[in-house]
């Protein structure tokens, strides 16, 4: 048991890689065996993170289950892992969504082995970002996550996948160039990449030895701040850096979209919370208005963009822009007034919104995938009146859509309310404008339901070879945990929000 306590994080982090290695040695024609191995082995990190969740002590401040291994001694970088209430929720989300995504991809029949291995590598990449307490390790995992995703879109995607995967890869890599530079600058300046130390050293640094003399420390900090912000803003994605997302989401395979929306976007927001706010409190406060502007633009234009779609998956993709805008709005509010109760409420909302969006967006993408697999079209105008054919699917779709819409009683409302509540006294105008986005959230969600389920039945899907079949048991099993969590968090959010709240109060 002691072993488990001291090595829990590395077990969670590397067990997907181990699973991928096992799959590597499986014969490539045994599809069933590969799928089940992937599924069962992806449950291992989930079980471990449940252990982590229950052993985690929310009353303690600071990081827990810390581990530190030598990695690159010469430049002062070490494999330093640790969790607090902030990363814990994200780890839980990641390890929960990965098995579901793998279960969702049981219909993949080409190159299954490579697919499953890439998925497991992806999981390690994402977990690494959430667990890293070392800036360089953070960056390494940040980039590692891109590669499997690129191949997932590029190899298993739909028609326009080359364009989409390239755009995704180049955009996110290009965005993080500044992050790499700024990371190196910090590492060189302080001889360490350890975040726990940088949190103390960097914000209070008054002079740096190795910068050109014509630059003041505040200029340097401002440049580095924007380098960080742009890297994370591309990933979130914030307006106007969001155009890669609809393409990537639309072309990615179903499970890829689930993970992309469910977890990958959270990496950006997590970067804001873990790095930008603690490392650049002054700059964040100074530029909070700009961040809030971008967030509000993401909320409003995301909603409008979503409303303007005829492609069901693209509609859901734009909804991610809309929802993640609220996360950044909360972060901007916290940046503007850190330490106040309003900021804490806004951050509670932002972090819960990350978790909630992970659940509802993954669910929505999966549901789009379910209907796409049966009809081979995503065009909303090709559907219509499908509710009588697929009542169970329809019910699940309405439920998940309502969670996405932010219906009170389901999870999205709690987090959006908290964000709006926290941001209102700090960023009143922006919050008021963002309500326009909230209004159109309703519009696009209802548009989706209207075009797919309601209205006169499109007879094409009612008979013969095109007859639409009901959602099957495997697919219901994928949705069930998501729906249960959506409802539970909506009705009783305190169990998760308490952990978040304590971390937020301690951190910000």
């Amino acid at each position: 048991m002691d072993f488990l306590n001291t090595n829990l994080l590395s077990l969670i982090l590397f067990s997907p890689v181990a699973a991928a290695l096992i799959i590597f040695f499986l014969p490539k024609d045994e599809l069933k065996l590969i799928r089940w191995t992937a599924l069962i082995s992806s449950l291992v990190p989930f079980v471990l993170s449940l252990v982590l969740w229950f052993r985690f002590d929310p009353n303690k401040t600071g990081f827990q289950f810390e581990e530190q291994y030598i990695w690159y001694k010469a430049i002062g970088s070490s494999l330093h892992l640790g969790v607090d209430g902030l990363s814990l929720t994200m780890v839980l989300l990641t390890t929960l969504l990965t098995p579901l995504a793998i279960l969702a991809s049981f219909t993949i029949s080409e190159k299954v082995k490579a697919y499953m291995m890439l998925f497991l590598f992806l999981e390690t990449g994402m977990l690494g970002v959430f667990l890293a307490l070392d800036l360089l390790i953070f960056f390494v995992f940040w980039e590692i996550g891109l590669v499997p995703m690129y191949f997932l879109i590029n190899q298993w995607g739909s028609a326009n996948r080359n364009y989409a995967s390239l755009k995704f890869m180049i955009y996110t890599m290009g965005g993080s160039l500044g992050l790499l530079l700024a990371t190196q600058m910090l590492g060189v300046a302080f001889g360490t990449y350890d975040l726990t130390r940088l949190f103390d050293l960097w914000p209070s640094a008054q002079a740096l030895t190795n910068i050109p003399p014509w630059l003041t420390i505040s200029t340097i900090k401002t440049i580095a701040f924007w380098a960080f912000v742009i890297a994370f803003a591309v990933k979130v994605p914030l307006w106007p850096f969001h155009t890669w997302l609809p393409d990537a989401h639309t072309e990615a395979p179903t499970a890829g979209s689930m993970i992309l929306a469910g977890v990958l976007l959270k990496l950006g927001a997590y970067g804001f919370l873990r790095l930008v706010l603690p490392l650049y409190p002054e700059q964040a406060k100074y530029f909070a208005g700009a961040l809030a502007f971008l967030a509000t633009a993401a909320i409003v234009f995301g909603a409008f963009g979503s409303y303007g779609q005829t492609d069901f998956k693209r509609l859901v993709a734009y909804s991610s822009v809309n929802h993640m805008g609220f996360v950044v709005l909360g972060i901007a509010a916290a940046a503007a007034a850190s330490g106040t109760t309003d900021a804490h409420i806004a951050l509670n909302g932002a972090i819960l919104q990350m978790f909630n969006h992970g659940l509802s967006a993954a669910g929505m993408f999966f549901l789009v995938g379910v209907i796409y697999e049966r009809t081979h079209t995503r065009n909303l105008n090709d559907f219509g009146g499908l509710f009588p054919l697929v009542p169970v699917y329809g019910g699940i779709l309405i439920f998940t859509s309502m969670a996405s819409l932010g219906l009170p009683g389901l999870n999205g409302f709690v987090s959006e309310f908290l964000v709006v509540r926290g941001a209102w006294p700090i960023l009143t105008t922006y919050t008021a404008i963002s309500m326009l986005g909230l209004l159109f959230t309703g519009a696009y969600i209802l548009k989706g339901i209207k075009q797919v389920l309601h209205g006169p039945l499109n007879e094409h899907w009612a008979h013969g070879e095109h007859k639409l079949t009901e959602i099957n048991t495997r697919e219901i099993i994928v949705m069930a945990p998501l729906m249960a969590l959506i409802l539970v968090i909506g009705v009783w959010p305190a169990w998760i929000l308490d952990v978040i709240n304590r971390a937020v109060v301690a951190l910000f």
């Binding site: 234009f301 779609q309 409420i345 509710f387 006294p425 209004l439 309601h454 039945l457 709240n501």
Partner: protein, 715 residues
């Protein structure tokens, strides 16, 4: 059981029924309605117990039933949610429980439980009837059971949950939760027959229009929470210092105080939910839903909820006279405006829909002039008689559908009043209960509940000098009486105008019993609020309602002194309107003979068209063209593709002009070429003749030796 525990439990049975029906009972119609009606019955029972206990508590206003739990952690503190039953809550709970229970019961009959499955019915469309063969071999078409019977009860259960949650909430947030859940249910129920494009669009219209109000309301809630740190009604209203601060803090918007702005934002939510002008457009379209839904939405729950919320927030609103003026204006304007439209409608349910908007305007106007108790009183009496009217109209439609199935002529609209006439003989129970409801709506003096509540509003308006409001409401009341009598005359009086009306039939007991129960309340509920100074009747029964509900407020409102002007006015407009309605319409046979079918009224003052032009079309344009096509695809992706293109051009330039020219040709190939050229030219030296080589080396040796000798020895 402790009363507080009981209050917690009130909303639960319907939501449990919802989940049970959805998950387990959706194939079994009998089980579904047993669960649904049973749950409504349980909630009704619990509500009655709570209501009776509330009556027995002295000074319930100061010591309401209240309990709360921690819900959301917010920094160092917790946001609490809880239940609260004060006099207003108790009175609301009473009518909500009764109407909901009746509507559940009525739905069993309305959806033809026990009838065979339809011949061509499919989910998403109203049932079309089934063909049966009787003992003599004759074929009959009879009503068929609703294909989505179970689903209806599930939605209804969720709806009831929302309303009960709203009523028992002790804070604005859970009130808003219930409010929005009802919004969802109204969407689902209006779009219940989703196969009809009209129903589908009506559902979306209802949801979106109310959502416009909701986002403002959310802002109001957030604003209130930010300045007070709590959303609990009691914590805010009993804190005098806080209330004073709210009333005096200025905001940059319209010169309102903080309280005024919050009140206004919350009020916009009500404007959406209670279908006040200018957000009234959704409510008439909501008639696409099955009739019990209309009753749920229009009487018992959703629209009442809007007014209830404003009554709840009255102490806050009343802090700012500017907000109160806005409220009064919107209410009074809506009351008159909707009444004018109602005069020209031919659909039996649409008339009621506009009358609902108009009556809600009454309540809002009453609140705007500070008549707190009168508004609450009218809310409750209206809920009873309007639920009665809607269920009655459903009964009429049901009877007419019977006639339509009998004749087989499906082109006859069973909701058009001009296809009816003379139904009093065919459907006596429906007729008498409808008459009671209609007279209550018209404010028929003394016996009906509507008279007392309406009279109180008019008296309040007159006594407090709001003459403009008084006159507007009086005119609206006249129109109300007029179109009510028009409706009754066209539907029930005279002779049947169509074959279908001749074959209409009285509806089953599950539908008539709720009508009878509600008509009892539509008459008697007025007697609990007779003003004490009313001539002859005043003082016979104590003005219980005023005392009880008035005690909700910290300062008990004074009962207004008696004045003959409003009394005579309300007598005059009610009786005059009714009489005129009967005189004008007793001989009208077809819409063409109806002089009041003015296009502007028929088309609802063209609000739908205007909104479509002003908001809906631009929204589409902004979404599809501006944001997606121009901004995202055009500008943003354009910039990206431009950068990609530029990168490509630079790459090509580097390859063509530097790599190929400089590196390859000059440096790489150039070196090789030079070496080659030199080798070629030096080739003749390589004769292969050793003797020549040796001679050359000998010469070199001599020369080198000579040079060395010169430099080393000679120098």
């Amino acid at each position: 059981m402790a009363t507080e525990t009981l209050i917690w439990l009130i909303p639960l049975p319907p939501v449990l029924a919802f989940f049970l029906i959805v998950l387990f009972a959706n194939k079994n119609k009998a089980l579904s309605h047993t669960l649904g009606v049973g749950a409504a019955g349980l909630s009704w029972l619990a509500s009655m117990v709570v209501f009776v206990r509330a009556l027995s508590v002295e000074h319930l206003g100061e010591h309401p039933f209240h309990a709360s739990v921690n819900w959301l952690p917010t920094g160092e503190t917790w946001f609490k949610i809880g239940v609260l039953i004060d006099p207003l809550g108790a009175a609301t709970l009473f009518f909500v429980a009764w109407t909901i229970f009746m509507i559940f019961l009525y739905s069993v009959g309305y959806h033809n439980f026990g009838q065979p499955k339809g011949d061509h019915d499919r989910p998403g469309l109203p049932p079309h009837g089934a063909t049966v063969t009787d003992a003599h071999g004759h074929k009959h078409t009879i009503p068929s059971v609703e294909p989505m019977y179970s689903r209806f009860f599930a939605f209804l259960g969720l709806f009831a949950f929302g309303m009960y949650t709203l009523v028992v909430s002790d804070n604005l947030l859970t009130l808003f939760v219930g409010w929005e859940i009802m919004g969802l249910c109204s969407y689902l129920l209006i779009g219940f027959w989703y196969g009809k494009p009209s129903a589908r669009n009506a559902a979306i219209k209802a949801f979106m229009t109310t959502r416009v109000g909701d986002v403002f309301m959310l802002l109001g809630i957030v604003f209130l929470y930010s300045v007070t740190g709590t959303l609990s009604f009691r914590e805010i209203f009993t804190n005098e210092e806080l209330m004073h601060a709210l009333g005096t803090t200025a905001t940059p918007v319209l010169g309102l105080s903080a309280a005024g702005l919050i009140g206004l934002l919350l009020f916009i939510g009500t404007v959406g939910k209670s279908a006040q002008w200018p957000l009234h457009v959704w409510l008439p379209d909501a008639m696409e839903g099955p009739t019990p839904v209309s009753a749920m939405i229009h009487a018992a729950t959703m629209v009442s909820a809007g007014v209830y919320a404003v009554i709840r927030m009255f102490p806050l609103l009343s802090l700012d006279p500017a907000t109160m003026s806005i409220v009064a204006f919107i209410g009074a304007f809506t009351a008159l405006f909707a009444a004018t439209i109602a005069v020209a409608q031919n659909d039996i349910k649409r008339v009621l829909a506009y009358s609902t908007i108009s009556q809600l305007g009454y309540m809002i106007a009453a609140l705007g002039i500070g008549a707190y108790v009168a508004a609450a009183f009218h809310l409750i009496t209206h809920a009873f008689f309007k639920a009665l009217l809607f269920l009655g109209s459903g009964s009429v439609i049901h009877g007419m559908e019977h006639g339509v199935l009998h004749t087989g002529n499906h082109h006859v609209d069973p909701q058009d009043m001009f296809n009816m006439g003379g139904l009093r003989k065919k459907m006596p129970i429906t007729f008498w209960t409808f008459l009671i409801g209609g007279f209550a709506l018209a404010g028929f003096p003394v016996v009906t509940a509507g008279f007392w509540s309406k009279d109180e509003i008019l008296a309040d308006a007159f006594a407090h000098g709001h003459l403009a409001v008084f006159i507007t409401l009086a005119v609206a009341a006249f129109l109300t009486a007029f179109y009510t009598m028009r409706q009754i005359t066209l539907t029930f009086l005279g002779e049947p105008r169509t074959e279908e009306a001749k074959h209409a039939q009285e509806t089953p007991w599950t539908m008539t019993v709720p009508l009878i129960v509600l008509s009892v309340f539509a008459v008697t509920y007025g007697w609990v609020g007779i003003p004490e100074h009313f001539p002859l009747l005043g003082g016979l029964v104590p003005n219980w309602f005023h005392e009880f509900v008035g005690s909700t407020l910290a300062e008990h409102p004074e009962a207004v002194p008696f004045s003959p002007v409003p009394l005579l006015t309300s007598l005059g407009v009610a009786l005059g309107g009714l009489l005129l309605g009967w005189l004008v319409y007793r001989n009208v046979k077809s819409p063409a003979e109806d002089k009041l079918q003015l296009p502007v009224l028929k088309n609802k003052w063209y609000f739908d068209e205007a909104y479509d032009f002003l908001f809906v079309k631009p929204a589409y344009w902004i979404a599809e063209t501006l944001v997606y096509k121009w901004m995202d695809k055009g500008v943003l992706d354009g910039i990206l593709h431009f950068i990609a293109h530029i990168t490509g051009v630079i790459g090509a330039a580097i390859r063509n002009y530097i790599d190929l020219r400089v590196i390859n040709e000059t440096i790489g190939d150039g070196t090789a070429n030079t070496v080659k050229w030199m080798g070629f030219n030096l080739r003749p030296v390589q004769t292969g003749r050793i003797q020549q080589y040796m001679l050359a080396s000998f010469v070199v040796l001599i020369v080198v030796g000579a040079v060395l000798y010169y430099f080393l020895v000679m120098a």
